[in-house]
């Protein structure tokens, strides 16, 4: 049993490495393997490879891993496979924060963290608090209560984003619309380097909380009786997921459904124990988004479609499937 799980993790690791190495070679412009190693040259292909494709693959891997692991933590904490930062409106809150920052136009940064990310983080935190507060008002809240709360928060922030767009001029409005679709059209490693610390801190924290996540899955009362300081643990999870989601959204836009699909698919083949599920979700979420993005930039080549469109097309039916399945089995997370 234990060996089987270790084997699956190793397989997943190999899969991830293969995806990471192969994806940059794939694209409109064919890049032969030999040409990328000619360092320092003015080779156009090597330039495409190192300046555009590699940063993009690394960025989409980090974003996928961060969103997936955040989704996993939410699912454990809310004891529901449909609970993710995206479905509960945290992404929308972060998007609102980023849009607000862009439109207000007061440029600031704290400790080198850009204001856009800070604003996205702050509003992600606020939306988490709203949803969590709403689900806590009635004892024994149901899936319905939680999803309705998420939908309400989503609507609320989406309307505000629309309002801001209405007030702004056409070009910036278009930029916001395009950014809201999500995408990794980045140049160079700068955005990636700004993003990686958040992913590293957030994921490391979640990896340290796997025992707590297991107990939270069973119930707050049982977790407490085993010695978990649940208020503290939940606050930590809220903060680090908001950090990860906020920074991902502010840089790449709200990319939906990865946080719901990746942990759930991983649970099917490695089980619900977060000690194995967390690393599996991290790897799979990252590799999965790299594949989605590679698909997005090659399917109608030379043009591209936003990767958020791809994940939403996959995620919508998946969401419905989970919803149907959940209502028939009445199980929390399985």
């Amino acid at each position: 049993m234990k060996n089987r799980k270790a084997f699956i993790l190793i397989l997943l690791g190999v899969f991830t490495v293969v995806v990471l190495v192969m994806s940059p070679f794939w694209g409109t412009e064919h890049v032969p393997f030999g040409s990328v190693l000619k360092a320092g040259g003015e080779d156009a292909r090597a330039n495409i490879f190192w300046k555009f494709r590699v940063p993009r693959v690394v960025a989409s891997f980090c974003a996928g891993a961060a969103l997936a692991i955040s989704g996993m933590a939410f699912q454990a904490m809310f004891r529901n496979p449909l609970a993710t930062p995206f479905t509960l409106g945290v992404s929308a809150g972060a998007a609102f924060g980023a849009t607000l920052y862009i439109q207000v136009g007061v440029l600031f940064s704290v400790l080198g963290i850009p204001g856009k990310t800070l604003s996205a983080f702050a509003w992600a935190m606020i939306s988490v608090m709203i949803v969590y507060g709403l689900t806590r008002t009635r004892r024994g809240f149901t899936t319905a209560t939680m999803l309705v709360a998420g939908v309400a928060v989503n609507f609320f922030f989406s309307s505000f984003i629309m309002f801001i767009q209405y007030l702004s001029d056409f070009t910036s409005s278009f930029r916001v619309v395009r950014w809201l679709m999500g995408g990794f059209e980045i140049v160079g490693f700068d955005p990636v380097i700004r993003f990686i610390p958040f992913v590293a801190i957030g994921s490391a924290t979640i990896f340290m909380l796997t025992n707590e996540l297991n107990l939270l899955t069973i119930g707050d009362d049982l977790a407490l009786s085993r010695g978990v300081r649940i208020i503290r643990v939940k606050a930590i999870i809220f903060i680090v997921t908001s950090l990860m989601v906020g920074s991902a959204v502010s840089i790449f836009g709200p990319i939906g459904f990865i946080g719901m699909m990746a942990p759930h698919i991983c649970r099917l083949f490695i089980g619900p124990n977060h000690r194995h599920l967390a690393p599996a979700t991290f790897l799979f979420g990252g590799a999965f988004l790299v594949l989605c993005d590679t698909f997005a930039r090659t399917i109608i080549s030379p043009a591209e479609i936003p990767v958020g469109v791809i994940t939403a097309i996959l995620g919508g039916p998946f969401f419905l499937w989970l919803l149907m399945r959940g209502s028939s089995e009445k199980s929390v997370i399985s």
Binding site: M1, M208, L209, T210, N211, N214, L215, T217, I218, G219, D220, D221, L222, L224, S225, R226, G227, V228, R229, R267, G271, P272, N273, K330, S331, V332, I333, S334
Partner: protein, 263 residues
């Protein structure tokens, strides 16, 4: 003088504006088997949840082995008291083995995997509860009786000297009920674990265990020998009805006979 295992003094709590417990005081000696009975809504479960700090906003003093529980971290508390909640409606996908390993939480650190001492405690807990054979099965595929037994095993693996149980036999058939009672008796006698058992089964409270505390409307109205609770003078005051009392065929102790309901 030896400190009692649990000492509760003037424990009061209001939840949602309603007074649930009103100045509850009693103590439990080490190795004692105490049953808590009383009508629905008397506050039995609430006492356990206050002890476990699941409800944090109570007033009064609660001491465990002489130490006020306010002064303990949640992990220290978990090292001394384990809790078996009601198993009804719990649907979790973990295997039985994983559930029992989770009982070791207060002894685990985030990165190291379980140590031989943990493994030993888990194995002993599985063995004592007769759940070794289902260790690889998923919790949500088990019957009600098996689920309850697994929750007890998980609490047992926690290695605390005091165990709180919330109606462990309420939804079980007579066979599983007896299995649970037997495990509790063994845990109490051979491991010397102090037991606080909330139950609706008056006969079982009278026959199994050393002492009974009876609650009504959030107050303690009886605290004493388990054998002497089966009297209509006492029970009518608790449940607002009279019971048919006869003698146990083997021991001669008074027990309650089920009534025949006539329309």
């Amino acid at each position: 003088m030896k400190e009692p295992a649990v000492e509760i003094k003037d424990l009061s709590i209001s939840i949602g504006g309603a007074r649930i417990l009103e100045a509850v005081s009693f103590s439990v000696d080490e190795r004692e088997y105490l049953s808590i009975i009383g009508p629905n809504g008397a506050g039995k479960t609430t006492i356990l949840k206050c002890l476990m700090r699941i409800y944090p906003n109570w007033t009064g003093t609660v001491k465990v082995a002489g130490i006020p529980i306010d002064a303990m971290s949640q992990k220290e508390l978990a090292g001394r008291i384990s809790y078996v909640p009601q198993s009804e409606g719990r649907s979790v996908p973990f295997t039985v083995g994983e559930m029992v390993v989770m009982g070791r939480y207060p002894h685990l650190s985030p990165f190291t995997s379980i140590k031989p001492v943990d493994r030993e405690a888990v194995e002993q807990a599985l063995e004592m509860t007769g759940t070794s054979g289902i260790a690889e099965r998923r919790f949500n595929t088990l019957s009600g009786g098996e689920k309850q037994m697994v929750l007890i095993a998980s609490a047992l693996a926690q290695g605390a000297g005091i165990m709180l149980l919330d109606e462990p036999t309420t939804f079980l058939d007579p066979k599983h009920e007896e299995d649970i009672q037997r495990v509790l008796a063994t845990v109490n006698r051979t491991l010397g674990i102090t037991i606080l058992n909330v139950t609706h089964d008056i006969n079982s409270a009278a026959l199994n265990g050393d002492r009974v505390v009876i609650l009504k409307n959030g107050r303690v109205i009886y605290d004493g020998d388990s054998e002497s609770i089966i009297t209509n003078e006492l029970l009518e005051g608790v449940y607002d009805r009279r019971f048919m009392i006869h003698r146990h065929p083997r021991t001669g102790q008074p027990v309650i006979a089920p009534d025949i309901i006539e329309p």
